[in-house]
């Protein structure tokens, strides 16, 4: 593909930027762009690729020409080991232009600390904030303790002030880092978001098509938070409905009178459309109860008459039944006994299968994996169950069936990215990276990589270590909580553009040739596909908030 660009430009492959531009200029002047739209697009694209190739070649050349570290041991004086010199170089921000003078050695032993640069100070504050938002480096959904909160808020204020006074790229970097940190650390970070939003106007990007995924996540929640605050005020139109629906306790028929049906409909529809996660503040039983009332068209007066008649009739039946009570009890007992007999006749294999299935689910999801399927879990559970049982029934043993079940589960997780929010998107891709890292450790990341063929056959084969497996289980649980396991996502093909600078970073990271990387990115079955994929995950996951959500979905 890259050879094509030189043909379009009409020159030989070269690293000379000026020559590329001249070629482009000549070709452009010979074109009538409005009548040859496709030709213009092709020419422009060819030039961009050519410039990118030239730029990466230049970068590599610069590295190779870096001066050799001079060796001072030759003249016999004692300057210490080369490691000491390394210590001196690391202290300053840039590589020293000349070799260090012997007396400089004393600086390494900390007689005077060089002043902290701006970027070091900002990094230190970001790290301190990250430690507060992610205690012990882990995700936590507990709120801050008061002293932690005060410290975190002070850090946010300080970072915001730094950004305000700084150059654009520093402002940009702080904006990105805070957005990602707060999105990934939600809901613990909730108390800090408004302050950051004040400076960076994250809400201003809300609703735009290129809203950064971290912001998309946060903005919904900021608006949700504001809504919850407003609706909690007594003056709000929907305040009464809200407090009623949020009230703890079981709903009873008399609650009908506590809120108007229309208001409830407006509140629930509005919340579901605009601030879906705010629904978690409401009492789910009450909401379910009202939901049913809203979808029932309601009995009307005839219905009420029927109901009263029905009640009277039932009262009569009950009286009659009580007089015949003994009979019924005896019947019930017989039923229970026959069920027990049936169970005794159940073949061993069925119960063994059930046991095996439960084990498999626990293995995949962790301890509550085998819990009864609720609506939020149905599709996933169905898929995994089918895979496991059909494997057992075709004669395979438990381990083999587990592999099949795991494969289905993992494919499900990858597919769930289509609908996932930012936090889950990042988490799923992190786990995908764990798979590739495990394959790499086993030496199975080349042509025999199970993740490079369509259908991801063999994904169940990837065995994770103890910690990564815990992480995978946590991810599955998180997907379940996010409601992504309730149904199969079923839309068409997704495509995303990979920004040029990301491609460049992938090339660097993987250490492969440019053409190889380009080819592997476009071909699912390429022999280097998994290696490139691992490099891509490394690059993107370092700064997930800066790429488009679509890219995170198809990684």
């Amino acid at each position: 593909m890259s050879a094509q660009c030189w043909r379009t430009l009409g020159i030989k492959a070269t690293d000379d930027k000026a020559a590329i531009r001249r070629a482009y200029a000549d070709k452009l002047k010979a074109l009538d762009v409005d009548n040859d739209v496709a030709g213009f697009a092709k020419l422009r694209q060819a030039r961009d690729i050519a410039l990118r190739l030239a730029a990466s070649a230049a970068a590599r050349a610069a590295e190779e020409q870096a001066p050799e570290e001079p060796d001072y041991r030759d003249d016999g004086a004692d300057y210490g080991s080369p490691d000491d010199w390394d210590a001196v170089v690391l202290e300053s921000d840039q590589a020293p232009a000349e070799p260090p003078v012997p007396g400089a050695r004393t600086r390494a032993w900390g007689s005077e600390e060089p002043p902290e640069t701006d970027s070091q100070r900002i990094e230190r504050q970001l790290r301190a904030l990250a430690q507060l938002v992610f205690p012990d480096g882990n995700y936590s959904d507990d709120g801050f303790t008061l002293p932690d909160y005060e410290q975190a808020l002070a850090l946010v204020n300080s970072l915001v002030a730094e950004a305000h006074a700084a150059r654009l790229e520093v402002y940009n970097a702080i904006d990105h880092h805070l957005a990602e940190m707060m999105a990934q650390g939600w809901p613990r970070s909730a108390a800090l978001v408004e302050r950051a939003n004040e400076e960076f106007h994250w809400l201003g990007e809300a609703g735009t098509i290129d809203e950064r995924p971290a912001l998309r996540f946060l903005n919904l929640r900021i608006r949700g938070m504001r809504f919850v605050e407003n609706v909690g005020q007594p003056g709000h139109v929907l305040h009464k409905v809200w407090t009623e629906l949020a009230r703890p306790g079981k709903p009873n028929p008399l609650d009908r009178f506590r809120a108007k049906k229309d208001d409830v409909r407006i509140l629930l529809n509005g919340v579901r459309e605009r601030y879906p996660e705010v629904e978690s503040y409401l009492n789910p039983e009450r909401v379910g109860w009202w939901d049913r009332r809203l979808t029932d068209s309601g009995p009307g007066i005839i219905g009420w008459i029927i109901r009263i008649v029905g009640i009277l009739w039932m009262v009569a039946v009950v009286f009659g039944a009580l007089s015949r009570g003994d009979n019924n009890e005896r019947n019930a007992r017989t039923q229970v006994e026959s069920a027990a007999e049936n169970q005794a006749e159940t073949p061993m294999s069925e119960r063994e299968e059930e046991l095996g299935l439960r084990l498999a689910l626990e293995q995949i999801m962790g301890k509550d994996g085998a819990v009864e399927a609720g609506e939020d879990y149905s599709a996933f559970r169905a898929g995994v169950t089918t895979a496991y049982l059909s494997s057992r029934r075709s004669g395979e043993n438990h381990e083999q069936a587990l592999v099949r079940a795991l494969q289905v589960a993992r494919v499900f997780a990858l597919d769930a990215r289509r609908l996932a929010e930012f936090g889950e998107l990042v988490e799923i891709n992190e786990v995908q990276r764990l798979w590739l890292q495990a394959l790499q450790r086993e030496g199975r990341i080349g042509e025999d990589c199970p993740m490079r063929k369509a259908g991801l056959a063999g994904l169940g084969d990837v065995i994770l270590g103890v910690e990564p497996q815990e992480r995978e289980r946590a991810m599955f649980r998180r997907l379940r909580e996010a409601g992504l396991m309730a149904s199969h996502p079923r839309f068409g093909e997704l495509r995303a553009d990979i920004p040029g600078d990301v491609v460049g970073a992938i090339i660097d990271r993987s250490g492969l040739a440019d053409e190889t990387v380009y080819a592997a990115l476009q071909d699912n079955g390429h022999q280097r596909r998994c290696q490139v994929k691992l490099a891509m995950l490394d690059v993107v996951l370092a700064r997930p908030g800066t790429v488009s959500a679509d890219l995170l979905r198809i990684l």
Partner: protein, 568 residues
């Protein structure tokens, strides 16, 4: 001959390409900038330019300024006896500028290049074209203001330049463009902006700051709304300019023999406009992100537009970029000069054969599609982009869609321009109705191709492979059907107005200015001016040209002195 016109919110200018260089053409008062102001009284007498601006103080209900902000809307202003649209007012201004060119060169311009903010949407651009047509000018091309400024930048040496950023803060709009020049190619890499941010907003902030301090001036409360607004706005403009050179300035309003004033310091002003200055950052960031250029790669920051003279803006820029902005282009002239270069290119002017300009689409273009949630339920509609913003133009892109329901017979979808996911927040350009064969949902594929050319014309090609249906649409304004008659009607209405002949224009301007100064002073100074006005009017009646000229010169000197050294 084709001319280049900068039709600005506060000031306009016209320039031509002559003898191998771009030159501004002075107006009837000898100035290179003509204020974008129009005043019309009940008798049909009209004033355009500086005279109209002066009449804003004395006859605000007959005067309109900053009407560029109304372009693309149906809003009208009542002046004199009739309602005028933004296009008609702009047309009057354009006609005046064309007349200035005719006076300077002896030829009426056969075509014109008019500049628009890069961030103007389709409606606003069409309105600008219509204004040209009403004025009797053939609009050969609309060019983006930052692109024009980039053309003017380095006009003398036409050297190659690595990507530089054009920062254009005018009276009503803010545009940022990143442009690169090499081998005679002027390439716009990205554009962004804010159509509702300009010098006028800084004035409004100053008014909000100063008004409460004018204290118990009952005089202000007694004024009718538009007069009060006009006087406050003019005072803010004066004070803002004064603050550019001094650490504090007076904000003063005079009306009906009373004067109310307060002092504003630079610090207070900067605090009051801090939120506006914050808004300057976002378009810069967006344009840099869109073309993935880092700030340190920029070779220059080029300032365009009068509002960039404000120290608060310069400070913010220095902070943002870590370097001082470039001041080699004249911020008020660059756009008009650049337009003249484009005009020269279109007419094959000398010295310009080897230049090509490539621009970008400033907004995303797309259609409306169904939005589904994780359960497959339809949640309303969402914007599906087909051409991303900042794609080099001309461009042609195609996207495939499918039917959403079983046995669907027709797909109806709107065509939109904008960046919001919710289509109601975007600008609707048109609608397509596509008949489709009955089939299960998702089985009928529809291909929609958008082609956007360098003059901003959007063509839509729809094809349904399953049925062989094919349609080509050119997106024209839904109003265009009526527009031919509307333009004729507007032209007729404008022709009915009385315009000062050129030789009278200076006198009319002098009178208007004198009247404004009269209103803005009290006591002895006012009486003094009043007497001069009477004498001047006397000379006009006698119609002795030499006497008129002498009187006028004297009057203007008096006015200059008074305004430079106002009595306390």
């Amino acid at each position: 001959m084709i001319v280049g016109i900068d039709l600005g919110t506060t000031n306009s200018a016209v320039a031509i390409w002559q003898d191998g260089e771009a030159r501004l053409v002075p107006n009837g008062l000898g100035e290179l900038l003509t204020p974008s102001a129009v005043s019309i009284d009940r008798s049909g007498q009209s004033w355009i330019g500086a005279a109209a601006l002066d009449r804003l103080a004395t006859h605000p209900e007959q005067t309109a300024t900053s009407f560029k902000r109304m372009m693309g809307t149906q809003a009208t202003v009542t002046l004199g006896k009739r309602k005028y649209s933004a296009e008609e007012l702009s047309a009057m201004l354009l006609a005046q500028l064309a007349a200035d060119v005719e006076h300077a060169t002896g030829q009426w311009p056969e075509g014109t290049v008019i500049t628009v903010p890069a961030y103007f949407n389709e409606r606003q651009r069409r309105a600008t074209r219509r204004a040209g047509e009403i004025a009797g000018l053939e609009v050969r091309r609309l060019i983006n203001e930052p692109t024009a400024a980039a053309l003017a930048f380095g006009l003398q040496d036409q050297a190659d330049r690595e990507p530089f950023l054009v920062f254009d803060l005018g009276g009503g709009t803010f545009d940022v463009s990143i442009v690169e020049k090499f081998e005679g190619i002027v390439e716009v890499r990205a554009s962004a902006g804010d159509n509702r941010l300009g010098g006028d907003d800084f004035n409004a902030a100053l008014v909000r700051l100063a008004e409460p301090r004018l204290g118990a001036a009952a005089m202000l409360d007694r004024l009718p709304g538009d007069r009060r607004e006009a006087l406050l706005g003019l005072a803010a403009e004066r004070t803002r300019r004064a603050l550019t050179a001094a650490a504090e300035a007076e904000f003063a309003v005079v009306a009906d023999d009373e004067r109310a004033a307060c002092t504003i310091t630079t610090d207070e002003f900067e605090d009051a406009v801090a939120p506006l200055v914050k808004r300057l950052r976002d378009p810069v960031l967006r344009s840099l992100r869109d073309c993935t250029i880092a700030v340190e790669e920029l070779s220059d920051i080029v300032l365009v537009g009068g509002a960039t003279r404000m120290p608060v803006v310069k400070k913010a820029l220095t902070r943002m970029f870590g370097r001082f902005p470039n001041s080699t282009v004249h911020p008020d002239h660059a756009v008009a000069l650049g337009a003249a270069v484009q005009a020269g290119l279109l007419s094959g002017g000398e010295g310009l054969e080897e230049i090509r300009i490539t621009d970008v689409a400033p907004f995303t273009l797309g259609i409306e599609v169904n939005n589904r949630d994780s359960h497959g339920r339809v949640l309303g509609t969402i914007f599906s982009p087909i051409i991303d913003r900042n794609t080099p133009v001309p461009v042609s892109r195609v996207q495939s869609y499918s039917t959403a329901a079983d046995n669907q017979q027709e797909i109806v979808s709107g065509i939109y321009q904008g960046e919001a996911r919710d289509v109601t927040q975007n600008v609707k350009l048109g609608e397509m109705k596509i008949p489709v064969p009955r089939a299960p949902a998702g089985e009928v594929v529809v291909n929609v191709r958008f082609t956007y050319d360098s003059s901003g014309l959007l063509e839509v090609d729809i094809d349904v492979p399953k049925s062989g249906y094919h349609r080509n649409m050119v997106i024209v304004d839904e109003d265009d059907g009526r527009s031919a008659t509307e333009i004729a009607r507007s032209r007729k209405a404008l022709e009915a107005l009385k315009v000062h002949p050129r030789d009278e224009a200076e006198n009319a301007a002098a009178l208007a200015r004198a009247e404004r100064v009269y209103e803005s002073f009290l006591g002895d100074a006012r009486e003094f001016v009043g007497r001069w006005i009477a004498e001047f009017q006397g000379a006009l009646e006698k119609q002795d040209p030499r006497q008129i000229t002498d009187m006028r010169k004297g009057l203007l000197e008096v006015l200059d002195n008074l305004e430079a050294n106002p009595p306390l």
